[in-house]
Amino acid sequence: MGGEREITLRVNGRELSGVAEPRMTLADFLRDVLGLTGTHLGCEHGVCGACTILLDGRSVRSCLMFAVQAEGHELVTVEGLEGPDGTLSPAQEAFSANHALQCGFCTPGFLMAVTEYLAEGAPDVDDEEALRARLSGNICRCTGYQNIVKAVRAAAADVRGGAA
């Protein structure tokens, strides 16, 4: 029950397999076994949010799950945000256009959390306090969050405009 086993995950629309022990976190499996290094480790205890991915459309901290737990679910990582032709998602585009990243280490986690938020219809996007509370699950040391807030608003407007 504890040895290595083959684990197959659906990530970014593809079936990917690798071998790992049950104790290997989902974050480590994505990064070191599947080579999807876009998801980052900032703390490994579920506080900083750098490891955030989408599991069945919901944001989760991949450092707080084990790879074996993710079988049978639909995973999306930062590598899965862009279109097949490389078109940036609204969140990605907005982050770059609004200088919402500097070193970029926390950015994948933010992008996944924001992607979920946009899919929910960006509730309370104009309420400064509510939006900042929503974003407080991801820590950034570089940007001071000012441009991240701006980028999320821009992305929300972009999505609304596109949907209209």
């Binding site: 980052h40 480790l41 990605q92 500097q102 280490f105 974003l135 407080s136 001071g144 807030v149």
Partner: protein, 812 residues
């Protein structure tokens, strides 16, 4: 909002004399524009390559066993259990390094200028850190042993099998305890726990104190913080035994220094070592570490590539701490609130080793007088060793501590005189007509401080206007009537930036006409790949998208210093700009051969060389590059070396002085001590901005860092030296909910010290927030006389101060 105005009339004494042979500076065209960053593409698509993402065939993983005692004898280490585990390749302690590795170099060797040593004569005691603990441990987190195993999971399993016996020794828990006559001495060879001291004196402070109308004394302090870049440290090293060559990928801001350390400590020629800085998730200072050399050593010893990634638990304990200063300060002043003299004695709790000697403490001494014209000053500094992790320069590097001291003094003086603290500031600011202003003491590079052009009074007014101070005052009165406590606080700073000794750039045009810049600067979020391309584009005559900038690879440029201390825009920017100018001249000379035209009649615009007035006589850069190739068909003017490449190392005459004024509005919940930051405004002056969007981003990030410093972040040790803040649940990084909206205004006074007018801006944002927030809290609670003498300020601490103030006001 920005303003450029005629200020300061005399030319700066250090302004370099323009060499008439040097090409003219091309006025900014791409510089100054908020260009979107080229580095973004890989960062937003998950294609960045940090040390943790790199894979080398055969790679194995290291983990470090760290001391769990603050001060103890290491009486026994038994690694046999770990070694016996399946998947473990090696376990090393200090014993295995004996004779194979030199002592860890002290950064102070290179950090303190000879000129400063001559002028100030600091006492410095050498005390090199061992790479792995030898005989004793001195701080929680100190490396004791290293395991190398097939993966990190197994390596951590092996750590648990290493048996270590610690014999606890009495703990030196703080700097005052360290100075007690019967305090245990951490390193007996030093005699006591004072590792460095210096005193600087300007004017006649004692004389002025003796005759001054008023005086006050205060004890002010700033707690300890941790740098906390979002990426923890990491090193990957691979050794080619056949050639005797090491390749090291390091998340370190100073790759050339890493190479120096590895070279000297492992006894290898520098050129046999390549240090590469891959993508890096922030740095914020920090410096050199045992692992930077230990991991390359292990790779060489074991003959397999070794990767080590620090985890956050190690990082919080160990990498590195900062601030932690205690000031006993006196101010002499008159009835108008003009500060006549300052005397300060401060202790730095340096932790168990102080490799950076006086880098931070001297910065403190040099910046304490801030934007104020105080001509009589004495500062005495002691860096004291304790059983805590070593401190290093971290964003602000000594300036936040003294900005807090000075700005709180202003508040205390104002309170004593019944004046508005903002008015007291006005009365003390150096006026623009007084610029350039000599401060009467050397900067850390040994050159006497002379402030650049600036207009501090205008900066203050602009900041207040941008904040809406008048409207806020009305709001404050109304709020008071409804028992809501809101207040505003001001702080200003001056920042010496663009520290030397040099930085270099290689600018090269290849045969496709593409321009590549290699620099010793090592970007980790500052956008140098974009901003240096902007300056190169302007000075060379190409488009920014035609320029690729790469930094931090010792194989691409012989000498480099690195990115820290708000230096790269100034130093690498100037190096790139000057190299680009010279390269343009070369391009035109070769193009002149190609077009058979006098180069003086040619111009290089957007990547094409054309004759002025007859644009049809033109040639593409690619063709010029071909023509410049060595060989019999090269079209080169007499005496010119082939190739379109220029290398330039820029040596700044001294630092430039950027400045800023911050205003913050806060709301205080009197019943709980909770502080809400309503909004934050800065007006910053950092010379010619290469990219205003990036400058503002730096300010935003600095402010957030300062907010953490003021209200949330503290590395806490208990009286027995145990670390209390070992996780992110306990060490509190501010999130988007705690950092207020930030608006940035600008003043622009191009520096006279470099051809492009650039000043550094990376740290300024982090310098003023603790002072501004403390001042705002005092303002919010007025007339209740709350004394804020220390940051960080937790809600509980503030509530206690409020209760104390109420008690004393009641008693009065």
């Amino acid at each position: 909002m920005s303003s450029t105005g005629p200020v300061g009339q005399a030319t700066h004494p250090y302004a370099p004399v323009r060499d008439p042979d040097e090409p003219e500076v091309v006025p900014p065209r791409h510089v100054g524009r908020p260009l979107r960053r080229t580095e973004d593409q890989r960062l937003i698509t998950g294609r960045a390559r940090h040390v943790g993402d790199l894979r080398v065939p055969g790679m194995v993983h290291a983990a470090i066993l760290r001391s769990t005692f603050p001060h103890a004898e290491l009486t026994r280490i038994d690694t046999s259990g770990a070694l016996a585990m399946d998947g473990v390749l090696a376990v090393v302690t200090a014993a295995e390094l004996e004779g194979k590795m030199g002592p860890f170099l002290e950064a102070a060797r290179t950090e303190i200028s000879t000129l400063l040593k001559e002028k100030v004569r600091p006492t410095l005691k050498s005390c090199p850190m061992p790479v792995l603990a030898q005989g004793r441990v001195f701080w929680i987190g100190q490396p004791v042993a290293a395991v190398v195993a097939r993966d990190r999971y197994v390596a951590e399993d092996a750590l648990e099998r290493i048996e270590v016996e610690y014999e606890p020794l009495p703990v030196v828990a703080g700097p005052e305890a360290a100075l007690e006559p019967d305090a245990p001495v951490l390193h007996p060879e030093l005699g006591d726990n004072v590792q460095t001291t210096f005193t600087v004196s300007v004017g006649d402070p004692d004389g002025v104190f003796a005759s001054a109308p008023r005086m006050l004394r205060a004890r002010l302090s700033m707690g300890r913080i941790a740098a906390n870049a979002m990426e923890t440290r990491g090193v990957l090293a691979a050794y080619d035994a056949g050639r005797g060559e090491l390749t090291v990928w390091d998340a370190n801001a100073r790759p050339h220094l890493v190479r120096t350390f590895v070279s000297e400590m492992l006894g290898m020629p520098a050129d046999a070592i390549r240090v590469i800085g891959p993508d890096m998730g922030g740095s914020f200072g920090t410096g050199m570490f045992p692992e930077d050399v230990l991991i390359p050593f292990l790779a060489r010893e074991l003959g397999v590539p070794v990767k080590w990634l620090e985890d956050r638990r190690e990082n919080l304990a160990n990498t590195r701490h900062a601030r932690d200063q205690l000031h006993d300060v006196e101010a002499a002043f008159d009835d108008e609130g003009r500060v006549l003299a300052i005397r300060d004695r401060f202790l730095v709790d340096a932790g168990a080793y102080n490799a950076y000697a006086i880098t931070v403490s001297y910065n403190s001494a040099a910046h304490l007088r801030n934007q104020f014209g105080i001509d009589h000053y004495r500062v005495e500094s002691l860096s004291v060793l304790t059983n805590k992790a070593p401190v290093t320069p971290v964003r602000g590097a000594g300036r936040p501590e003294v900005t807090f001291v000075m700005d709180r003094l202003v508040g205390l003086i104002a309170a004593e005189l019944g004046l508005d603290p903002i008015e007291v500031r006005r009365r003390n600011l150096i006026r623009p007509e007084q610029m350039p202003y000599a401060m009467g003491m050397p900067y850390r590079d040994g050159v006497d401080i002379v402030y650049d052009r600036a207009d501090f009074p205008d900066q203050l007014e602009k900041a207040l206007e941008l904040f809406g101070a008048e409207a806020f005052r009305r709001e404050q009165e109304e709020a008071r009537a409804r028992d809501r406590r809101i207040g505003l606080g001001v702080s200003s700073y001056v920042e010496g930036s663009g520290y030397g000794p040099h930085e270099g750039a290689v600018v090269r045009i290849d045969t496709t006409g593409h321009v590549t810049v290699h620099t010793g600067a090592r970007p980790h979020g500052q956008g140098l790949e974009t901003t240096l391309a902007q300056i190169c584009a302007d000075q060379l005559g190409v488009r920014p998208e035609d320029v690729t900038v790469r930094g931090g690879d010792t194989a691409t440029i012989a000498h480099g210093i690195g990115t820290f201390a708000s230096r790269s825009a100034v130093t690498a920017g100037s190096a790139v700009g000057i190299a680009a100018q010279r390269l343009r001249r070369k391009v035109l000379a070769v193009a002149g051969e190609v077009l058979e035209t006098d180069p003086a009649d040619l111009e290089l615009v957007e990547g094409r060389v054309a004759a002025r007035g007859t644009p049809e006589r033109s040639v593409a850069l690619a063709e010029v590059a071909h023509a410049a190739q060595p060989g019999p068909r090269a079209k080169l003017p007499e005496g010119m070396e082939p190739g379109l490449e220029v290398t330039h190392y820029y040596v700044p005459p001294t630092v430039t002085f950027a400045s800023g004024t911050h205003v913050v509005g806060v709301e205080v919940d009197e019943e709980t001590g909770f502080v809400k930051l309503l909004r934050y405004v800065t007006v910053d002056e950092c010379g010619q901005m290469l990219n205003p969007m990036i400058v503002e981003g730096q300010i935003h990030g600095g402010v957030a860092h300062g907010v953490g410093n003021a209200l949330f972040e503290e590395v806490a040790y208990d009286a027995e030296g145990q670390l209390l803040t070992g996780t992110y649940m306990d060490y509190l990084m501010p999130t988007a909910a705690e950092v207020p909206p930030i608006a940035v205004g600008h003043q622009v006074f191009p520096s006279e010290l470099n051809p492009f007018g650039i000043k550094g801006c990376g740290e300024g944002g982090a310098v003023s927030p603790p002072a501004a927030i403390a001042n705002a809290i005092v303002d919010a609670l007025a007339p209740l006389p709350v004394r804020i003498d220390r940051v960080p300020l937790s809600p509980e601490r503030l509530l206690r101060l409020i209760v104390e103030a109420k008690a004393s006001a009641g008693a009065a």
